[in-house]
């Protein structure tokens, strides 16, 4: 069957098997491997992407069900050209506050954070912890992830990165 959806602002149309899961559509069909794939059982949350602005576990959605919808992956967080452009405040927050170690959970965490801040620009710590409670991080103990999201909330306009400041 044919599916058409908007992924990171670009409309894509592909022929897929109805059984193709959204996570594999993104990673294999579109080559967007920033979305990670972990437990495969809807538990870890590393596969979270935004569908119409809401966090969804893409291992538990069909590409077919996403036909006609808008998807945002981690590749769509930074504004402007890939590799250049401006990082999203959430991405900057994860840099500033060391929100990642191995980075496996990071794409899902950052997208959930983005959706939270879009809905609630100034969340308290309990709200942040609740928002990411469906996602597992094996490295950080969550404290730095919470601080990263707090950093992003405190810096809503993307500021120049450290590298840009140094240069």
């Amino acid at each position: 069957m044919q599916v058409t959806m908007t992924v990171n602002g670009t409309e894509v149309t592909r022929d897929v098997e109805p059984r193709l899961l959204l996570v594999h559509f993104l990673r294999e069909t579109l080559g967007l491997t920033g979305t990670h794939w972990g437990c495969d059982t809807s538990n870890c949350g590393t596969c979270v992407v935004l569908v119409d602005g809401e966090p969804v576990k893409s291992c538990t959605a069909l590409a077919a069900m996403t036909d006609g919808h808008e998807v945002r992956t981690v590749e769509g967080l930074a504004q402007g050209a890939a590799g250049g452009g401006t990082l999203d405040p959430v991405q900057q927050g994860f840099m500033e506050e060391h929100g990642l170690q191995c980075g496996f959970c990071t794409p899902g965490m950052m997208l959930t954070a983005r959706a939270l801040l879009d809905r609630e620009p100034d969340p308290d710590e309990a709200t942040i912890r609740e928002a990411i409670s469906g996602q597992i991080c094996r490295c950080t103990g969550y404290a730095t992830i919470v601080r990263s999201i707090q950093w992003a909330a405190a810096h809503p306009a993307a500021a120049p990165t450290e590298q840009e400041v140094v240069a």
Partner: protein, 293 residues
């Protein structure tokens, strides 16, 4: 890698269209709503539908409406929408108690009330909530619409009165004045299914006695309500002793099985303790203070 067996996919454009698609594609065609129970089962090949009929476009199944003594909730209402609804929280605090501990916020963005009842997992939380609130389920099929009491809707684990060629369209909650409700669950970790849970609803009479009560248990091997436990409450003034007696009877009515979530005696202890807590909280919410006898 978990991959579902091959199937065909169709997206319904209306309730009528969904019914026609189910009819046309026969007994191996199934409705998919949030997909958060069905897809995991398909990935494990525990379910192998030949056709999936996607009902996610049916906006007419997404309402929460207060209407002549009933709260009508569309089958496609997501967990997140129930949790976000002020009217739900005001009329039926038990729904918010339960929704806060159903899965996690991301899963709650997709899972629906219709799918939860349709799945009829014995550890499913909204089933107990609907039991306790004496909800009704609206089912439409080729022969038209019927409204069934939730007690009749449940036929046992994973079995309901909704046939393959039918659709759950709405859940109706009767609004009762002077009543309140509560739910509490013990889970191993955030987002997990219940080790055990209990729900209760109480209605107070003008004279301060309990006019009506309902107690339900989740994942504790009780089908339907704990009627004996609720019966001891009716006509009585709330007291700690009374609550303890009801909780003892609820635990007695349970028949938990040992699994990786715990042994039988622990679960039976939870049945007792959780029933006490939800009765206390429901009574508190309705404005009664249980007097320590």
């Amino acid at each position: 890698m978990q991959v579902p067996a091959p199937f065909e996919y169709a997206r319904a454009t209306s309730v009528q269209d969904a019914l026609e698609l189910l009819e046309r594609h026969g007994p191996e065609s199934h409705v998919i709503a949030g997909g958060h129970s069905l897809l995991p089962m398909m990935k494990l090949r525990l379910a192998r539908p030949e056709w999936l009929i996607d009902i996610n476009d049916l906006a007419e199944l997404r309402h929460i409406t207060e209407d002549a003594g009933v709260l009508r909730v569309g089958a496609l209402t997501r967990h997140a929408a129930l949790l976000g609804s002020d009217v739900v929280g005001r009329l039926f605090p038990i729904v918010h108690d339960a929704e806060k501990v159903i899965a996690d916020p991301v899963v709650r963005n997709r899972g629906t009330i219709g799918g939860s009842l349709g799945q009829a997992d014995p550890a499913e939380d909204l089933t107990t909530v609907c039991d306790v609130l004496r909800a009704q389920v609206v089912i439409v099929g080729p022969a038209g619409e019927r409204v069934v009491d939730v007690a009749e809707f449940h036929r046992g684990p994973y079995e309901t009165a909704c046939e393959q060629n039918e659709l759950i369209t709405e859940v109706r909650f009767p609004i009762r004045t002077g009543s309140a409700s509560a739910y509490e669950k013990v889970e191993r970790r955030v987002g997990d299914w219940a080790v055990a849970a209990a729900g209760a609803a109480v209605q107070l009479g003008d004279d301060g006695t309990i006019a009506d009560a309902a107690i339900g248990l989740t994942a504790l091997g009780l089908e339907g309500l704990a009627t004996d436990a609720a019966a001891v409450l009716v006509g009585q003034r709330p007291s700690e002793d009374l609550i303890a007696e009801a909780a003892r009877l609820a635990a007695e009515a349970s028949s938990p099985v040992e699994d990786q979530r715990g042994p039988v005696d622990y679960k039976r202890h939870l049945a007792d303790e959780l029933t006490r807590r939800v009765l206390r909280r429901a009574l508190e919410r309705v404005g009664a203070t249980a007097t320590a006898a």
